[in-house]
Amino acid sequence: MRPRIQLLTPELIGRILCEAFELLMSPGVRVGSAPVVALLRSAGIEVNDGVARVPESQARNCLASAPRDFYLYNRQGEKAVHYGGDDVHFDPGSCCVQMLDPDTLEARPSETRDLVRLIQVTETLPQFAAQSTAVVCNDAPSAIGDLYRLLVVLQYSHKPVVTGSFSAAGLQGMIDLLAADSGSRDNLRKKPRAVFDVCPSPPLNWSEFASHNLLDLARAGVPAEIVSMPLAGGTAPVTLAGSVTQHAAEVLAGITLHQLAAPGSPVVWGGAPAIFDMRTAGAPMGAVETAMLNMACAEVGKHLGLPTHGYLVATDSKFVDAQAGAESARSAMLGALTGINMISGAGMLESLACHSVEKLVIDAESIASAYRLVRGVEMRGETLATAMFAQTGLSGEFLKLKETRALFRQEQHLPSPVIDRNAPGSEPLSDAFTRARDRVNELVSMYQKPSLPEDVLRKFQSIVEREADRAGVASALHGK
C-alpha cells in the first residue's frame, strides 16, 4: 500500500468547492483586460466594471475540457514528467533574486554563473525531474531577464523546465525559444518541454499580464501552471479552509479563461499558498500551516481529477542550517504523501527570495527519503520472515542470506555523503553544510554540457536579438 495523507474529508472538499463557486459569482473575479473581457462575454459570462461573474455551469464545462493528465518531455523527446494521478516530481524553486555565497555566507544578487551552477547540479541529481529558471541573472539586461534565464537553461540542460514570464510581451519570445529547441511550434505543442507558472493576484484578481499569459499559453498549447498564492490573513481569509476556498476560486477562474481560449489545452491546478506572518507581513514558506495549505489545495485539485502542483521544500531561514533542514524535509515528505505532481521550491531560502546550491543538494536527500517513504512497506517474496528464518534458524546470520544481498538496495535508500552516517572515507567531523559544498563541487565536475545543433543555437541567437531590440536593450548575450 502506498502511504498517503489526507487533510480534507470529502464533505469538506464539497463545501470548499461549493463556496468557491459562490465566490465566482459574488464578489466575482476582477479581470484586467479588453481581450479577456471580450472572450468571457462571447461565452455569455457577464462582466461589469472589470468584474466577471462566472456561473458554476460555465466553470464546470471548462473543468470538463481540461485534460486529466499530460507529459513534459526532455530534449531527446522522451516522456520525463507525468502530470497526473499520484505521480510526484520535484524541481528547484524559481526566480530567486539572490544567491547565498557559500564562502562568505552572504546573500548577494544572483548572476548567470549561479544559474549555471544550479542547472549543473539539478541536471546530475535524479531527484529533480525538471529544471527551473531558478534565479534571476542580475548581470543580464532585466528587460529580457525572463527570456535570458530560459536561454541559459535550454543551453545547459536536457530536462524539462518549469518557468514563467515577467511580462505579457515577453512570453512569445520564450515560446519561440522553446519552439526552436523542439524544432517547431507544432512539435512543442505535441511534446512540450516546459510548463509556465502564471499567478493570479490574491484576492480573486486575474491581472492583465497574468490573464494574457494564460490565454497565449492556452493557444500555443504550452502547459500553464496556475500558481495561486493566497496569504491566509493578509490577502485571503485567515482560516486555512477559507484560504483553500479562495485558492480554488482563483484557479477555477483561471481554468475557465484558459479553457475558453483553447479547450483541451494542458493546465495545472497549482499553487504557492502560505500563511501571512502577523509580525512581519511576510509569507513563511517553511511554516507547517503553509505546508497544510499546499496539501489541502492539491487535494481539491485531485478531487477534480486535475494535475497538481505546490510550493514546498523551501525555508524562511537565511542560512543552510537546522531550521532550513527541518522545514524543507518535513514539507518534502508531506508533499510526496499528498501525491502532488510537481513540487517546486527546493534550494530556496528566505521565503523564496534567495537560492543556495548547497541547500539544493541537502534537499535532494530529503526528497530521496520522501520517495522512499511513499514506496511504503512492500511485500517481497512469499513470506515476510518465516522463509528467511527457515534458513537462519536462531543463528542470526542474516547478512549471509541471498535475500539480504538481493533486496537491501530496494529496501534501503543509500544517501549520498551529504548525510553523515560515518561512512568509510568520509570526513569524521564535518557538518552537513561543509559536506554539501564538497558534494556540489563533485556534481559540477561530473556534469556534462549538452551540445546543441548549430542551427538551434543560431535560432536562439536571432530570437534573443529580436527580443532585445523589442525591449530596447543592446544584445551581447550569446555564446555563454
Binding site: 489526507q6 474529508t9 534571476v136 532585466s142 493578509g234 527570495a353
Partner: protein, 253 residues
C-alpha cells in the same frame, strides 16, 4: 481524516497580557485629565475605536485642548503600539486596529482643532506607490501603515504607478518624501525612472526619494541616487524621520 501525533497548543495570549502590564500605563490616582489621557492611550493600544471615539467626545465636553488630547493621550498610545510592533510584541491585526482607533479619535477632535486654529502638525508628507508594472503591495502597505500611525501624512498611489503620477502628486501636495517600492528585478528600473522624473521636474533635492523591496540593496540605492533605502517598515520610519530632520534644517537654514 488522518490521525497522528498530538501537538501541544501554543500558550496563553502573552501579547495582550503584556500590553496591560506595561508599567505607567495602568494609572492609579492622578488628576482627572491624567486619567483621561491614560484611558486614551489604552484605547489606542487596545485598538478600541468605540472607546477612543467616546473618550475624544468626553475630552471635548470637558473642554480639554484637543491638541493635548492627541499628544498626551492618543498619539502616545500609537507610539507605544508602533514600538511594540517593532520589537515583535504586537501583531499586525492589533496594530491596524490601533491605527483605526486613532483615526476615529482624531476625526472627532479635528473640527475643534480647526476652530481653535491649532491643526496638529504632520511629521511630513509622504507619497508611496509601487513601481510601474509591480503589483506587490504588501510591503508598501505595511510601510504606509507604520508611517501613518507614527504621524506622517501618507498619500498612497497604490500599485503600478508611473513616474508622471509620482511627480504630479508630489507637486500637488507639496510632498517631502516620495517612496517607491519594487519587488521585481524588472520593475526596479521604475524606481530609477521616478527619481529621474523628480530630478527633471526640479523637485529634488527638496523632495527626498526613498526606495525598498526584496531585491533592493544599498548598492542599487546609491547607483540610482536615492536618498535612502530600508529593508523593513521600522527602518523606513527611522529613515523618514532622519530625512525630515534634514528637510527641516534646510528650511530654517
Amino acid at each position: 481524516m488522518c490521525g497522528g501525533a498530538q501537538f501541544l497548543d501554543s500558550g496563553p495570549e502573552y501579547n495582550s497580557c503584556l500590553v496591560s502590564l506595561i508599567p505607567g500605563l495602568i494609572c492609579v490616582g492622578g488628576s482627572l485629565s491624567d486619567q483621561l489621557f491614560q484611558a486614551m492611550r489604552q484605547s489606542i493600544i487596545d485598538g478600541a475605536s468605540d472607546t477612543a471615539t467616546q473618550l475624544a467626545q468626553q475630552a471635548l465636553a470637558n473642554g480639554v485642548d484637543p491638541i493635548e488630547a492627541v499628544n498626551q493621550g492618543f498619539a502616545a498610545g500609537i507610539t507605544f503600539a508602533g514600538d511594540q510592533f517593532g520589537c515583535g510584541q504586537m501583531f499586525l491585526p492589533d496594530l491596524l486596529a490601533s491605527a483605526e482607533a486613532i483615526k476615529a479619535a482624531i476625526n472627532i477632535l479635528e473640527p475643534e482643532m480647526l476652530k481653535r486654529g491649532s491643526q496638529r502638525e504632520a511629521l511630513g508628507k509622504i507619497i508611496l506607490g509601487t513601481a510601474r508594472g509591480d503589483i506587490h503591495d504588501i510591503g508598501k502597505n505595511l510601510v504606509a501603515t507604520i508611517l501613518s500611525a507614527s504621524g506622517f501624512q501618507i498619500f498612497d498611489l497604490g500599485t503600478s504607478v508611473t513616474p508622471e503620477q509620482f511627480v504630479a502628486k508630489a507637486k500637488e501636495v507639496d510632498a517631502d518624501i516620495v517612496g517607491i517600492s519594487a519587488l521585481l528585478t524588472t520593475t526596479m528600473a521604475g524606481q530609477k525612472a521616478v527619481i529621474e522624473a523628480l530630478d527633471r521636474n526640479g523637485l529634488r533635492p527638496r523632495v527626498k526619494a526613498i526606495i525598498g523591496g526584496a531585491a533592493v540593496t544599498q548598492k542599487w540605492a546609491a547607483e540610482i541616487g536615492a536618498d535612502g533605502y530600508s529593508r523593513n517598515a521600522i527602518g523606513a520610519l527611522e529613515l523618514a524621520k532622519n530625512l525630515m530632520s534634514k528637510v527641516m534644517n534646510k528650511g530654517t537654514a
